[in-house]
Symmetry: C3
Subunit: 349 residues, 3 copies
């Protein structure tokens, strides 16, 4: 396997960065300030790591102009070093080979349309009327169900399931184990079913529409809509094991951390940040630019941008147990406090 | 693809509904009150949407008798419009083709017994002594392990894993990514293992029994029992990403929302409703008709039907932080409150 | 299928236990005290079940010396009956047949190295430069991506995904649906992207290293590192649906219950116990021998061994709602309480 290298002058020109130091030095990878060697590029984006700059052995460091004086090696000056680093590092990512064509073990329905430039991996199954766009890459074991559409240059890493009526935009990236377009959880309680009543399933007749540049994490589930579609606008970023219920709408550029969950028909704005294992109840609306911290539960609509939280702090279990037991009587304490205040006021009169 | 249509008189007769309006009008789909057109059926079940009735362009509306006067189009009067709608809408659901037979890419053990009327999709793997019942449908990539039994007319949508000793009743519906019958999480701490102790695994020798008409959501996991079986009675409905540990028992007609979790050997009654991301600790018992709200944690057995909750409300993070910090001293506040009350009583003596 | 049997004398010798009763009695399985029959072995490890000992019909019971007098049948005396039982029960576990060799439906890259004693099941896909060690068993539908290494005698039950640069130690056991080595969730916000800013992905260039004897549950996800590796030391035990983010480190012998989640770069010590659906925020450190109870959120590093909790107790929803509403004003109550105390002190002066 040959190694990719890039010269500093080439990186400076390509990413519009100001270069200090040897233009001809060649870089073949990236690393942390502490770990990178002379052939590698590193970055300083967080002032917490500024102390490591002086001792770095990296060949070049991407940094703010304000840190330039402290840099013992070549530097690429960026307005936003983290963003610049992200873009440079992508040059060194080694994706699995994905030659155009359909692996002989794949099963493709005759009515499906697969672009000649798409790559369909081993054991993929592609259903009726499915469309696979130009340059799309389906790793091994992907299932693209009936009436699904995979946009140009989308990448389904491996073992992705698009159940039915799922449309992925351009450059969408989906990680293994994700299930998109499964039945929403819609049930009506029928008093006449069984002996004392039981459930009747509501057919889930909608689909899922996922905008360009979205990323869907491993084992994340996104159900299709009951009547209308479940919708993710462009550049929505979902981490692993997230659950998106039927008819949810998520605005562009919103990001959710692992294990977050959104219940049916909730509508989340643009540029929101939903923390790990946070939850949003059904039918609520969140404005643009709302941040929810980890493990919080959103139980009412939020009209104003800002950061919101719930939960109580972690403590030693013996202390916590005493406080938690008191929580069960908090309403009583508040009433007793008010009574004492009234009594005091009376006595002061 | 031809379109299915049904006349209003046919729907009225089949579902025992009272028809008002043109008996010959034909319906080819369903939609919301706001979205349905003249060829579609809609419904009004929730009075919140009553205002939309007057303006609907739907061909027919399923509704309560009390809303009949306000309906501008044909109507089908139902005692429970939501249940009636669910049953009618099922007529318009288009399931993937599932012709009887075994796809050539499937791998079926010689000792397995597959009904001639079952449909086994691409890349399915069926293990030793497994039994697939009449009319059962296994979509692509299903794994049915050794000694598993799939009941008649069960449907494994795609990529379902039954590990071993799993029995599914009739008409059970399982969504992609579900793993049923994996090892329960049973460990004994062995002080003599490694240097300072380590884990010894308890073999999980039981199975999983799932009753008729159950539904299991995408990426949900149900472990098999350690000695006895894990059991779901009939018509249990599990949403996506639910975790059911070994030896759990769930009573008939209980429903759980996404990301709920039940720890080992817990026993949940019939007609319970477990909210999203709620948890039940191990070895507890929940009576019939217990409702647990979203994200609550059940830490003791519940003997009485009713609704139960835990958690604290969402607030602006700055306000929340102040309150949360106080929670750590709640026991102290309660004591100080009592002391003030005693002091007051003393002064009043 | 022939049945395996073991004589009591053989079990006593093999596991170094003291035998009371018929040395020649043969055992062909295990069961609970209440359920085991004369051909089966049971155990008494928890004094809660001591009352069942007198009535057991088991052929032999593994127990503490202190319970020997109450045992109506043969007994195997152990210092730790639960550990001894776990080891004996493993003899009766029936694993699926796994003959060495590669199933004809598997797809193996020419550059992969598969041990002649390994077993590769149906539809497995093995990538470039992957290595499968001696005696390793890959059940059906496993994907081993480029540059992955599966240690000797590891067992991937079925449908396991190792994405890329994943190394599994010896005897590692991975359950279906687990995804190891997927992209970590690394994003930089680029103010110049789209109209008002958007996300740039940070390539995830590290891998995952999993030590000997680890167990990974069904549908659990472990992301690979951004630059360095995500690391699990030996004998780490993860239940189902756990989420481990990029660059997390987990010390040896730590166990986590279902649905726990650990955010990026957190470092968890050895011999920790993380309860079900508990969470650990990013970049935190937990000392050795820290226990976190179910559904707690760790928001700061923990330097001392011990047990830690957060959350509030479950109540009837009507009572809970009153208390929860008061939580929003807890800071105010604390201030009012202090004011009353000051007022009292002033009056007492």
């Amino acid at each position: 396997m040959s190694t990719i290298t890039h010269s500093l002058s080439e990186l400076a020109a390509r990413f519009e960065l100001r270069l200090h130091g040897e233009a001809d030095r060649r870089i073949d990878g990236v690393g942390t300030l502490a770990g990178a060697g002379p052939g590698q590029l590193s970055f300083l984006a967080n002032s917490k790591y500024a102390a490591q700059l002086g001792a770095t052995r990296a060949g070049v460091v991407v940094l703010h102009a304000e840190n330039l004086a402290d840099c013992p090696t070549a530097a690429l000056v960026a307005r936003d070093p983290y963003v610049a680093y992200a873009k440079i590092a992508a040059l060194f990512e080694r994706l699995p080979a994905a030659a155009p064509g359909i692996h002989p073990s794949a099963v493709v329905a005759p009515s499906a349309r697969v672009s000649a430039s798409a790559s369909i991996g081993p054991c993929c199954v592609i259903g009726d009327r499915a469309v696979i766009g130009d340059g799309a890459v389906l790793g091994p074991h992907c299932i693209v169900g009936d009436d699904c559409h995979v946009g140009a240059h989308a990448r389904l890493v491996a073992r992705v399931t698009l159940v039915t009526r799922v449309s992925l935009g351009k450059r969408v990236l989906v990680h293994p184990g994700a299930v998109i377009g499964s039945d929403g959880f819609g049930l009506a309680f029928d008093r006449d079913a069984f002996d004392h009543g039981g459930w009747v399933k509501l057919p889930q007749l909608g689909g899922v529409r996922i905008g360009d540049d979205c990323e869907i994490g491993a084992n994340t589930t996104i159900d299709r809509g009951a009547l209308d579609d479940t919708v993710l606008e462009q550049d929505v970023r979902l981490d692993n094991q997230i659950q998106i219920a039927h008819n949810v709408q998520i605005g562009a550029h919103t990001a959710m951390a692992g294990c977050a969950a959104v219940a049916g028909s909730a509508k989340i704005g643009r540029y929101c940040m939903i923390g790990g294992n946070a939850g949003v109840l059904g039918h609520l609306e969140l404005a643009d630019r709302v941040t929810i911290t980890a493990k919080s539960l959103v139980t009412h609509s939020i009209r104003e941008p800002g950061e919101y939280s719930s939960g109580v702090p972690l403590q030693d279990t013996r202390l916590w147990r005493k406080n938690a037991a008191r929580f069960k009587h908090l309403d009583g304490y508040a009433r007793r406090l008010s009574a004492l205040e009234k009594d005091k006021d009376k006595n002061h009169e």
